[in-house]
Amino acid sequence: MRVYALHAGLIVLLFALHFLLPAYHHGNLARVMVLASYAIGYNILFGYTGLLSLGHALFFAAGLYGMGLGIQHLGLAPAPAFLLGLVAGAVVSGGLALLALRTSGVAFMIVTLMFAQAGYLTLLYFGTYTRGDEGFVIAQASRALWGIDLSDPGNRYLAALILFGTCLLLSLWLVRTPFGRVLVAIRENEERVRMLGYDTFAHKLAAMVISGTIAAAAGAGYGLLFGYAGATFASVQYSIFPLLWVLLGGAGTVLGPFVGTLFMFYLIDLSSGITTAYMLIAGVVLVALTLFAPQGLMGEVRRRLWKGLP
């Protein structure tokens, strides 16, 4: 009960902030919520199933480009385009899972990294359609969902909140089902789970597809809300960001991805006022985290304050 109150409380708080925040932070928070949805997707695979992927940008970009190219070249309305993005994410993550899950450990990381890199280069190669690094702007006229203009800051915030809330509650529900428990068990000891008679491959496959589809939903949402799609979103950097956010917030906690994204976003926001080399701070934070707090922020909360935090 306390668990549901905590997570519903966060969503209510974010809704209340819609009316309270000044314009600048209001816009930032909308972006953080979409990116946190991406991190939630990543967390299901990394935090709960224990599979470290370095290729999630591929799924984010599948959603972004599935949606964006659908609008740009097929003339779809936003809702079907969003769905197309989700389907693209599910297909790409399913395909990669079938290949990558034959490996484990370091090989899994490198395989996902390589396929994501191939996907990024493919986006550059077909520059006539995707406009490569430069990217393309999704026209304001085609971003109206059922007559609601998503480029308006107010609507954008609420749409981001709906996306984030859905992903948050979905992940909370998922990790408390028997299926989610098996994922955690696979993370802890895969051999033992297999001995108990579970099909670990099928569970890992499902986890990767769910994780990839949520990442794709975040990608498609990002494109719809902020009206831009570019190949940068498919680069290695965007595979490393969710890892960073999840590690910072606490891998294997439901709230961790949001906390980590928020913290990192404002860390970079504040530091880019001081120096242009803001990625330096990301690097220092990564090294410091692996050294001093491998559990992340919410992980420390779970360890010290509340053992039952999901």
Binding site: G105, M109, M114, L121, Y125, A277, A282, V285, L291
Partner: protein, 308 residues
């Protein structure tokens, strides 16, 4: 020109790529083989080598060969020392856990890259080669009076490029001698095959690890000093060598030095030849897909013998 001269030119360019790639990849392979650490920051050690070479060539007046010669010795030593420091302060404290070291070396990558951006700036800067004589290559063509020797325009190489290939071969032989014939090489191979047993026999495993990490980074820096008169020094130049080294190390079999060298020659030559005839982006797509698929279906690499 006909196809033939093009092919010769592509092979020569490919051989230079292969020589530099072999040095970089052997460094990566050494670190992975002995320490079981995947060093994502390897490309940044390469970049640091190039930047230090520029700084020395720029700072020392006189003939370009002076600055270059100093860089050839100093850059690998400085980069190696930095790597040893990184190993002792970060990697050692993570107990060389494979997943956590990957995250830490990603962090290291950003730190090195951005510090270079702050100190050196975003420009690509050239370094003068110590010697650079143009050598034209003759070609035989069947003309009206039978076979005759011609000198096609554009077909040629420079003495420096040939020197790079020779230097790389010499360094690779030295590395082989170090690993196979010296006492320290014996200790490294012992640590590689069984860490616990090496520790039990009184081998200072942590010092061996620090040395190997420094040696790997030093090899990358040396490769960069060699290539910097041909390319230019830039703070983002580490990405391509990193990716290609991964390709080479995986295709050659993780941790196998001879496999790594064979794969470097193969990849370097084919990269040169493919890039002449097709788009470089397409060449990279094929290379990355190849690595992914090799890892999935033949995890021991194309030349590896044991399961990885």
């Amino acid at each position: 020109m006909d196809l033939g001269p093009y092919l010769v030119l592509a092979t020569l360019e490919g051989a230079v790529t292969a020589a530099v790639l072999a040095l970089t990849a052997v460094g990566l392979s050494l670190v992975f083989g002995v320490m079981r650490v995947v060093n994502i920051a390897h490309g940044e050690f390469f970049m640091l080598g190039a930047v230090i070479a520029w700084a020395l060539a720029h700072g020392l007046s006189g003939h370009p060969a002076v600055g270059f010669g100093v860089a050839l010795v100093v850059a690998p030593l400085v980069v190696g020392a930095l790597a040893v420091a990184a190993d002792m302060t970060i990697l050692k404290r993570l107990d060389y856990d494979p997943e956590r070291t990957i995250v830490a070396t990603i962090g290291l990558l950003y730190i090195i890259q951005q510090l270079t951006l702050m100190g050196y700036g975003p420009d690509a800067r050239p370094v003068a080669a110590p010697f650079n004589t143009r050598l034209a290559i003759p070609w035989f063509e069947k003309g009206a009076e039978g076979w005759q020797m011609i000198w096609p325009w554009g077909l040629g190489t420079t003495s420096y490029k040939l020197a790079v290939i020779a230097a790389a071969v010499a360094v690779l032989c030295a590395v082989w001698a170090l690993m196979a014939r010296s006492r320290i090489g014996l200790v490294m191979r012992a640590t590689q095959s069984d860490r616990e047993m090496a520790l039990a026999f009184g081998i200072p495993v942590e010092r061996v690890y620090a040395l190997v990490f420094g040696l790997g980074a030093g090899l990358a820096a040396l490769a960069a000093v060699l290539i910097v008169p041909i390319q230019q020094a830039h703070y983002l130049m580490g990405a391509d060598p990193l990716l290609l080294s991964f390709v080479v190390v995986i295709i050659g079999g993780l941790g196998s030095l001879p496999g790594t060298v064979v794969a470097a020659v193969l990849i370097g030559l084919s990269d040169g030849i493919i890039s002449v005839f097709f788009s470089p982006t397409l060449a990279k797509i094929l290379a990355t897909l190849l690595v992914g698929l090799v890892l999935v279906f033949r995890p021991q690499g194309l030349f590896g013998k044991r399961g990885g």
